[in-house]
Structures are given as C-alpha cells and as structure tokens.
C-alpha cells in the first residue's frame, strides 16, 4: 500500500484539540493531535479507555466539534464531508433498526439518499454478498447472532460506497473466534474495495493484524504517543500472528501504550 502522499490525503488533522465541559470540570479529550491519513490506508487507533480514540473518530464523522485546531476530510470541513456522505460509520453495537429486515436496514442509507428502488436492490444484494450474509436479507436483526448483526451493519456502511470507512470497535462485543473470522473477512474486504479504513480497537493483535498504520494514543489528555507503519506483507493469514515480525510490531505498540501510561 505505498501511495504518493501528494493529493491522496483523506484526513488531515493539525493541532486538533477537543475539551468536554463536564460537571467535574473540563476534560481534555484530545490534545494537539497531528495526523495524516492517505487514501487506501488501514489505520488502527489503539489506546486505553478515555484516550480519545473514539472521540477522534467522531470528530472525523462530524458527530463532535473540535474546540481548536483544524481537521479536513477529503479536503473539506467534516460537516461538508458528512453532508456529502463521504464516509460510512460502523458503531460499537450493530444499531440495526429492529422493525426493518436486514435487507431494509442495509437500504436505509440508500433510501435517505434518494436512490431508485432498482439501484437500492442491486446495492443491497451486492453488499449482503460481500459480507457473506446471502439468504439472510429477509430476516430481522433480532433473529441473527451478534456476529451476523455486526456484519449486517458493515454491509450497511458499505452500501452507499463511500471511500472512507470509520469503524468504532466494531468487534468489541464479540467472542474471540467470531472476531478472528471477521478480522480476516474485513481484511479481504479492504483489499477488494481499496477503501480507506479508520479502525478503533482495544486489542493489540487486532490492530497489528489489520493495519498498515497503527496510531497509539494515551489518555488524559488524549494525545498520540506513537505512529507505527507496519511492514507486514499485504497477504496476511491468521497465523502471521506467530511470526517474529508481527511480534516485533506488537511489542512496539505495547511499549507505546506503556509509555503513555508512565506520564500519568
């Protein structure tokens, strides 16, 4: 995934700050974040709870407004990017509407964007197939397992074909086996579609396995302590996690996390 960095910057944050005004005083959720993400990268954000990784994702999505500094998504302000439907967002929970079938859930963004019926149907079929849920389109979300629900929510984020995918601990609530499986599938999906993915996680192996770039963050105030570019090969079977190269990167992530904690 080596791409020229000239015109392909998808996300560019400079001196980004965000403070929450809470009852216990001001919380510095993000402090002086500088980051550039190129098109086609798979970037993981890792760090302990409260380090601002989810907040940063929400700033990109225009669900939070920064207090200071600048951020551009596709060269636009986040709000314009949101109105232009520049990204698909996958939340921690599937957030599927329980009165809609899986197929109708996936077509929800398409309905809102006013696509024709035929177009909607064609895209729903394509994305259902992409996440391996063929035959489940007529089921309701509560009739499927947690892993399948989360796959449906990924399909929904893919349905309108935004080039940027923001994923906030999408597999956090799933068990290890389902998680491995979905990680493998996500990696294939990313290779197939060439999208830019920002992925928030708690898990070091997950971050190293998936990413081309790992952003290590630390809490109070939330800031970036290390940015690691992974030189693992593009082709990553699950057992790549046993190789020395993988463990070396994982070790560096761990050190970055520890360093963040030492300053507290």
């Amino acid at each position: 995934m080596t791409k020229s960095s000239s015109s392909n910057t998808v996300i560019k944050a400079e001196k980004l700050n965000l403070d929450f005004d809470t009852n216990d005083g001001i919380v510095h959720a993000l402090r002086d974040l500088d980051l550039e993400i190129e098109a086609g990268e798979f970037v993981s954000f890792i760090g302990p709870s409260g380090c601002g990784k989810t907040t940063f994702l929400r700033v990109i999505a225009d669900l939070e407004t920064p207090t200071a500094g600048s951020i551009a998504v596709n060269g636009q302000a986040p709000e314009q990017a949101r109105l232009a439907r520049a990204y698909g967002y996958v939340f921690q929970a599937p957030a599927l509407l329980s009165w809609r079938t899986i197929a109708r859930n996936i077509s929800l963004p398409l309905e809102i964007m006013g696509l024709s019926r035929a177009e909607q149907q064609e895209r729903v079929e394509r994305t259902i197939n992409l996440v391996g849920l063929d035959g489940f389109g007529k089921k309701f979300p509560w009739q499927l397992s947690g892993g399948m629900q989360q796959r449906a929510s990924i399909a929904r984020a893919l349905a309108f074909d935004a080039d940027l995918l923001l994923m906030d601990e999408p597999f956090g609530a799933l068990d290890e086996i389902v998680r491995d499986h979905l990680n493998e599938q996500l990696l294939q999906l990313w290779k197939k579609t060439g999208k830019t993915i920002c992925f928030v996680t708690h898990s070091i192996p997950e971050a190293v396995y998936l990413s081309t770039k790992i952003v290590v963050m630390s809490p109070r105030p939330g800031r970036i302590t290390d940015v690691i570019t992974s030189d693992l090969p593009d082709d990553r079977p699950l057992d790549i996690r046993e190789t020395p190269k993988f463990l070396e990167i994982a070790q560096r992530v761990r050190e970055g996390l520890r360093e963040g904690h030492a300053d507290e």
Binding site: F91, L97, S98, Q143
Partner: protein, 371 residues
Amino acid sequence: MTGLQKLLNTAAALCGFYALVTGIGALSPALLLAAGLVIAGGLRLSPVLAGAWPGAWSILMRSQFDLLISLVAAGAVLAALQDGMAGAVWALAIAAWLHGWLAVEKTIADDAHSKGFNWVVSLGVPLFFGFWLLFFWEALTIGLGIPTVLLPPPSMIGARLVSSTAILMADFRQTFLKAVLAGYAIGCGSAVLVAILVDRNDFLRRGLLPIGNFISALPIIGVAPIMVMWFGFDWQSKAAVIVIMTFFPMMVNTLSGLSAASVMERDLLNTYAAGYWQSLFKLRLPAAMPFIFNALKINSTLALIGAIVAEFFGTPIVGIGFRISTEVGRMNLDMVWAEIAVAALAGSASYGALSLLERRVTFWHPSYRTK
C-alpha cells in the same frame, strides 16, 4: 391424572353423592341423571374399574366425558332453578363446575396439539370461564331470591338485550359510533401532532406541557356541562369531553416515545445526513409506536367512560349514558345492565382490536418477538 385433577374429581363425586342421598325422592329425572353421571365420574378413580374394563375406563377418562357431565349437570340445574331450592341442586351446581374445570385442566395438559387447536383453546377457555361466571350469577340470584333491583339474573338482562335491540342499537350508535369514535380520533390524532411540535420546539415544550397537564387534571363533571354550553346537546359536546380526556395521556406517551430511539441510532442517521423529517419517519416514529399504542389502549377505555358520564349532563333523548341515568330513575335495572353490557362489549372489543393491531405494528418489540 395430576393431584389437582384427582382433587377436583373427588370433590365433584362427594357433591354427587350428597345430591343423590339427600334428594333421591325429590329431584327431577334430569337432576337424577346428572347426579348419576357425576357419581360415574367419581368411580373412574377406583383402580378396580381401571383393571376390569381398561377399554371403557380409558373412554371415561377423557376430557370430553368431563365436559359432558358438566354440561348435563349445568343444564339440569338451570332448568330446576327457583327461589329456595334444595341443597342437592346446589351440590350438583358445584359438581358441574368442578367437572368443567377438570375438562379444561385435562385439555390443557395434553400438549400434543396442532396450532389451530391451541387457538381454539386460547379463545375457548376464557369463554368457558365466562360461561361459569354467568351460570353462578344466574344460580345465586335466582336460588337465593335476590331482588332484581339489586342484581338481576343474566337471563333477565339477556331477555332485555333481545327485546330492546332497537333502542340499544340507537344508543350505541349515538354514544360509541358518533361521540367516542370522533372524540377518540380527534383527541389521539391531535395529541400526536402536538407532541411532534412540542418535541421540536423548546418554547412549546415549556408552555404546552404544563397546560396539557392542567387540562387533564380538570374534573370531568365540571368540564362536561361547559362543553354542552359550547358545543350543544348532541354528540359533539361528548366528543369534546373525550378530546380533553384523551389528549394528555397520548401527548405524554408520544413525547417519551419520540425520545425512545437510542443516541447511537440518531448518530447513525446523522452520518447519513438525514433531515429532520427523514429521521422522524424512518427512526423516531417507528421507535415510538409501543408508547403510542400504550396510550391508544389507555384512551380507548377512558373515551367510553368519558362519553357515558358526559351524557349525564345534557343530551338528546338517546345514548348509553342518557339511558342509564333515566332507567335508573324508573327502577328498570335490567335495562341499565343491558346498557352496561353493551358498553362493556364495545370497550372490550375495541381494546382487543387495538391489541391485535399493536401486535402487527410492533411485532419487532421484545415482548412480541418470535424467532
């Protein structure tokens, strides 16, 4: 047979013996037959019979046999009802009921049923229960000679229902089809619309919520005469009372329903750059449906009560409330009860219809989900 079934069967048999012993000379042939059947039902419990004729025994053990005993005995008792009747008849009435209960217990215990049969049971058991309620109402009012002014027997109310159908129908049309339906539709419909406005606008929320609360606290007997002044004697004034009664419960429920969608679901729609109306119709109103149906059900009974009470304060000479107030004055309590029966039936039917509709609309809600 379970312990409960044995207990019911034994108690019925004891009632049968008592009836036969005390009434052998006095009972009518039908009652004697009933007593005989009840005793036969008791003999099933003996292990001797089970061993001697297993074929006959298994037929006698069926729930249909209990139902037969129960209905024969009930029929014989109803035919023999009179003031100051013998203890033997009372004993048979109790035995009939016990066998009815037994028949239901046995039917429910058999669990290898088709879907259609389960449906019949779920509808039939409440009806059967209702039948026994009416049976004992009839038996007690006639058997104990209760004055009809205090409580007429159901047969008398039934006769009145049949003989006065035209009047009852006219009253039903006036009170239910005109006042209740109009008031209910206007009250609930406008409350949903106002709730949407209130939800959107903080000024209206602060201003209208207290006023709605205030109006709902107004006593109906104070409001009803005023509405008659404003809207005249006919059904319009009753509809106005209903609007006042139903508005607030619906508005409050819709308001909480509109905030029922989770923050994550709202964020989701935000990421699609959905407009206000899109998120209202695609997310917030569907999520509010369980709340709205809650209010619809509460209001369906409120509306009927409101219309009937409002008719006490001025009305043309037709309507359920009007009829009740005048017939009480003329001591025609059977007519009053007939009107009550009509109102209760209409109320239950509309509640039932709403429940069915609720199931269809909010099938996705955890309380109705089927895998």
